[in-house]
């Protein structure tokens, strides 16, 4: 069901039918746990980008982010049989990602690599290559600015913001994923937003 075409995976989504378009994450995960590899493909395609960005922004290093991203999915694969449908899939997935990041962070202590800006810039250049030069400069500036502001946030506030933006989580889900209470999650998100907005307005 999976076709490799010059290094790229192409989903055979035409054959997936309802599963591809309408099936819930939870149902897909249960299908995968019972041995359906196609269900995993659908699930992966649905969530790979947000999870990757969550990791990338959190780690601020592409290499580490890729490594952690891969580890998260490998953990999910290995833990597929322990998945319980009562838990929301995104909460479970981002909990895995959160724990992965925390583990890495603890191992590295405070060794957050500072050369992230160039890498993020590289990615941004790749993404915006079709826009005209003036627009591109503007976009690059705003991306730079937002990235800097985001990087300047404390880890816990940045994570809460990323969970909201990338996973579309509610405050309750953010609290559940990060293992904090509702009020703390709300407070972190409020601080993050205020700081980002005030930073953008200053510019």
């Amino acid at each position: 069901m999976l076709l490799i075409d010059s290094g790229h995976y192409r989903s055979t989504s035409d054959t997936l039918g309802i599963m591809d378009k309408g099936a819930s994450d939870e149902r897909l995960m249960l299908s995968y746990a019972s041995g359906d590899a196609v269900a995993f493909e659908v699930l992966y395609l649905r969530h790979k980008a947000p999870v990757y960005r969550y990791m990338l922004k959190l780690c601020r290093n592409k290499t580490i982010a890729e490594e952690l991203f891969q580890e998260v999915w490998m953990k999910l694969i290995n833990a597929r049989e322990s998945y319980v449908a009562s838990a929301k899939f995104t909460t479970w997935l981002y909990k895995l990602a959160h724990n992965q990041f925390i583990d890495h962070y603890r191992k590295q202590t405070v060794r957050i690599v500072e050369d992230h800006s160039t890498e993020i810039d590289d990615i941004a250049h790749d993404q915006q290559s079709t826009v005209n030069p003036e627009q591109q400069v503007q976009i690059e500036q705003s991306i730079d600015q937002l990235t800097k502001l985001l990087d300047a946030l404390p880890n816990d506030q940045r994570e809460v913001f990323l969970l909201r933006e990338e996973a579309g989580m509610s405050i309750t889900e953010i609290a559940e994923t990060t293992g904090i209470n509702y009020e703390a999650a709300k407070s972190r998100l409020r601080y993050a937003i205020v700081k980002l907005r005030s930073g953008l307005n200053e510019e």
Binding site: L2, I4, G7, H8, Y9, Y32, G35, D36, A37, F40, E41, Y44, K48, A49, Y52, R53, L56, K57, E66, F69, Q70, W73, M74, I77, N78, R80, I123, A124, Q127, I139, S142, I143, L146, R164, E165, I171, K186, L189, R190, I193, V194, L196, R197, L200
Partner: protein, 277 residues
Amino acid sequence: MANNESDDRELNSYLNGNSELSNGYRSSNKQEPASHLDEAILSAAKEAVNVSNNIKQKTKAEFHKAPWVKPLSIAAMITLSVSLVVTMQQESGQPLINEFDVEILDSASIIKESAISETKLNSEDVSVTNEIESRQNKVERPGVPAPASLSATADTYRAEEKTEAPKVRIKVTPAKKMLSKGKPQFEAIEDRVFSEEQNSPSISGGVAFDDTIKLKQDRELSMQEDALLKIKALWEKGEFVKAKKTYEEFTKDYPDVSSESMKEILGYTIYNGLFED
């Protein structure tokens, strides 16, 4: 305070999706993982499922190939069937073969065996007695008295023949235990045993029926006790009319039961209550 309110407003507006910040972030962040990551993760996912499926299939195949599977399955099937049949029998109130039945059958076989051995003993006795008598006659014929020892032996044999009856052992089951089984069945088995007892040649010679009589008495007593307990249960359930009716039937069936015995089982309150309107 004002700051907090404006922050909350900002948060709510952000949470409602009306935020420029959110739009700006989403438009500027479209990074995706590299294709080699996709490849690695999807391959791993597929492989994990294949390995898992293979293991499951292998385990299943190995299980079916194992030499102990068939005998174990048959044994399990038999155990389940037997237990199911027994349970069904018990639920329907018709025991397949109960303990008492077995005991009665045992008693019957003991009686039969003792009868057979008694018959053999009698025939042997007769032959021995005849031999002694013939020897005695031979000795007495020439006019010489028979040896004291021989005469004594013959007398002893004769005396034993007349006085000693074969002892039949019947296992006496507690009356309560018997009453828990069905009455018709009990009677059928009892009749069977008695008919066997009467037919056996040895018993006709004076077998002691004390145990059997005791068994009957025990049964009678337990039936009375059970009937009274039933009346008590009905009374306690609040079915007074039914209890009184059962009591009337009881007094008709067992007119000899003393009021003291009834009071002991029923209790004074219930006993007195039975006579109230």
